[in-house]
Amino acid sequence: MADIKDSVGEQAANKEHDVAMVQAMLRVVKDAKNQPYLAGNYDGSYGKLTKAAIASFQNDHKLAAAKPGPGQDLQGIVSAGGPTILKLDAMLPADYKDIRILPDTRTVFWPGAEADAKASAKAILGTADMEVTFRTAVAKLVDTMFQQHKIVLSLTNTGGRRTFQKQYELITQPNPPTKAGPGESNHNFGMAVDIGFKGLKWMQGDGGSKVDDWWLNSLQKVSANKAAEMWAARNVVAVTQLKLHPSALKGDLIHLQRFSDNNVSMRRSLAGHLNNVGKMGWKHFNNQYQSDFGWKDAFFPVGTATQIWGKTAPITKDNLAKALSNAKVPPPPPPNKKAGLQPLQKVPPLLQPGKAIAAANITQKQIDEVRSLLRAEMNTAEKEAFKWQALP
């Protein structure tokens, strides 16, 4: 049944969620003239209209007195579990019988379907491209939100693991929604999700209903604060109870991830990950990546993640000539014996590391070959996504 946790009325506790619930009920329960008791919109704020609506409802149904007898509330007070709230609940239109509200929010909503919550949790658990402890925690979030609040959460269609290629497409489109290149998004490693309220049916101020999207866009249009309250309620479970982390970006409310954003550099983390799983040495410095091309000599600038993925890394003939000329090439291992020093990577025939070459003799094909090697490193980084670690 629709209920309140604490009293509402003159000199009462008047917690916003309780006031909003009583107001919402008074907005849809009608008097003898078929008019709602509450003339204005419900908003969680106790005032003159609410006071009048409570008085009118209690008078009509003889639910209160200055000295309340059995089955009566104190005049002007709607007590938790008391006769006024019970009568309001009994008089709710059939479609409104199950309305609910979350603590510290002002938006009344209808419960979601258990089957939808189970399907959402199952889908998340079955998402093999997300890191397993993380996806287990996210599925637990869905379960807990439903058990505690009857709210169904689900991943947006782009809210799970995002491939490096998809990230590339996002950042290279006109009006890109992100500045994160391939391998620089926390969605690229299966350790972040966008999880929202799609399908949540909430009560509008006038008693009507609205079915919202993942981002609570409709509620946001009505009141940014009310939408923020719903996200905060989700985060009580997600962050406080399940220790997931919200985005550090203010307003990116839908986002949750396995690690804290605080003092994390996604670019230095990608460089570190490439060092761990790839064959080359990597750094991120001065707004671009640097690589030693696997030849263990100096590091050379190779541009942005987007350029590396797109095979347009800005490699100069001069730098490639230096890299090839100074490359430290290990001697070939003795036959049938695994040497401690292995070639760092299979060198394409076009490239001859360790042999002096002038910049003028570097060909475009050689540059393209190195670009392909860099891209191959990114492919490895994607394949070994779960080894990614957040670095400062």
Partner: protein, 332 residues
């Protein structure tokens, strides 16, 4: 003599004289040619020095001469890695008032930022011709720009646009005016969760006034939902103390690809031709005057010349499509 030279050199090193200002160390910022940095064009320069430049209060990014006073946009000195971005009201050099924007900076060494389509200053096709600066990298990134808005004769405001984020980008806009030696935030626009997009362009109104055209959109990543786009005019109401917001959609020209039977088909073409059609919005025909199919790809702009240029490109990337010059109708 050698001692004197050595001493002079030491003084130069200690005072930092003779080396570039750290405020512009990441990328040189050229001084604005004939206008105040970020000012839309109608105001006279408040100073002849370029921006950004260091002051006692921090780093000055822009100035707007607001009648008898000056509105400054500055990154104030940092406290614990938080550097408030402030609008400061000055008269005759005296600081009268200051208001911080919602989003502070993480540092006070701004570098040049580029206002591209989507940055949040301008219309969906044509970015505003303003200078912008940024501080920080990745999630600390904050882009900042300012424009003068001649709201009414004798009332010039400063519009501050900000953009922040790395994984997702978010924008907000604040309009400040000076009245009775105090700063007032006359209006603010911001974005909610998800792929929201807002932007402000300026438009000339009667009586030499300027208004703000506010684009407030949401680009659904789901192929089963059309985008949402509302266009409003914010203008000063003479004699009142408020900004009036009215529907401006019907004033906006568009380039429209008509003829999509479903929302998914419109999304699909936009995704396939992202380089050419990425700026378009998937809108229901009910938002367009004269659309014949259920959905359309729509690119609104205040610049008819920019639309004409884009038209030629679109004809090439979407051959066989019906390209129309339709107008939006009232916001839903």
């Amino acid at each position: 003599m050698a001692r004197l030279l050595l001493f002079s050199l030491l003084v130069l090193i200690l005072c930092g004289c003779g080396r570039p200002e750290p405020a512009v160390s990441q990328a040189p910022v050229s001084a604005p040619s004939s206008e105040v940095a970020g000012v839309s064009g109608s105001e006279a320069p408040a100073g002849d020095q370029g921006f950004p430049r260091k002051t006692a209060d921090g780093v000055l990014l822009a100035e707007v001469r607001a009648d008898s006073a000056v509105l400054e946009l500055a990154i104030s000195n940092c406290v614990a890695q938080t550097c408030p971005v402030q609008v400061i009201l000055r008269s005759n050099g005296n600081r009268l008032d200051a208001v911080a924007t919602e989003w502070p900076s993480s540092g006070n060494e701004p570098y040049a930022d580029t206002v591209e389509p989507g940055w949040g200053a301008g219309d969906p096709l044509q970015p505003a011709a303003v200078e912008a600066w940024a501080t920080g990298e990745e999630e600390q990134y904050l882009g900042i720009s300012a424009r003068a808005v001649r709201l009414a004769p004798g009332l010039t405001g400063m519009l501050v646009d900000q953009r922040t984020g790395f994984e997702h980008l978010r924008r907000r806009h604040d309009l400040f005016v000076a009245r009775e030696q105090k700063l007032e935030r006359l209006w603010a626009g911001s974005e909610g969760a998800g792929p929201a997009w807002t932007s402000v362009d300026l438009v000339k109104l009667s009586d030499s006034r300027e208004g703000l055209v506010y684009f407030d959109g949401f680009r659904y990543p789901t192929p089963d939902e059309p985008d949402q786009l509302q266009v409003s005019l914010l203008e000063w109401v003479p004699g009142s103390k408020v900004i009036k917001k009215s529907d401006y959609a019907a004033q906006i020209a568009t380039l429209t690809l008509d003829g999509f039977p479903s929302v998914a088909s419109a999304h699909a073409l936009r995704a396939k031709e992202a380089a050419c059609l990425g700026l378009f919005w998937v809108l229901p025909a009910s938002q367009l005057q004269g659309a014949t199919a259920k959905f359309a790809l729509v690119l609104p702009s205040l610049s008819e010349s920019a639309l004409a240029t884009k038209r030629a490109e679109v004809v090439g990337c979407a051959p066989g499509r019906i390209v129309k010059d339709l107008r939006l109708i009232a916001n839903e």
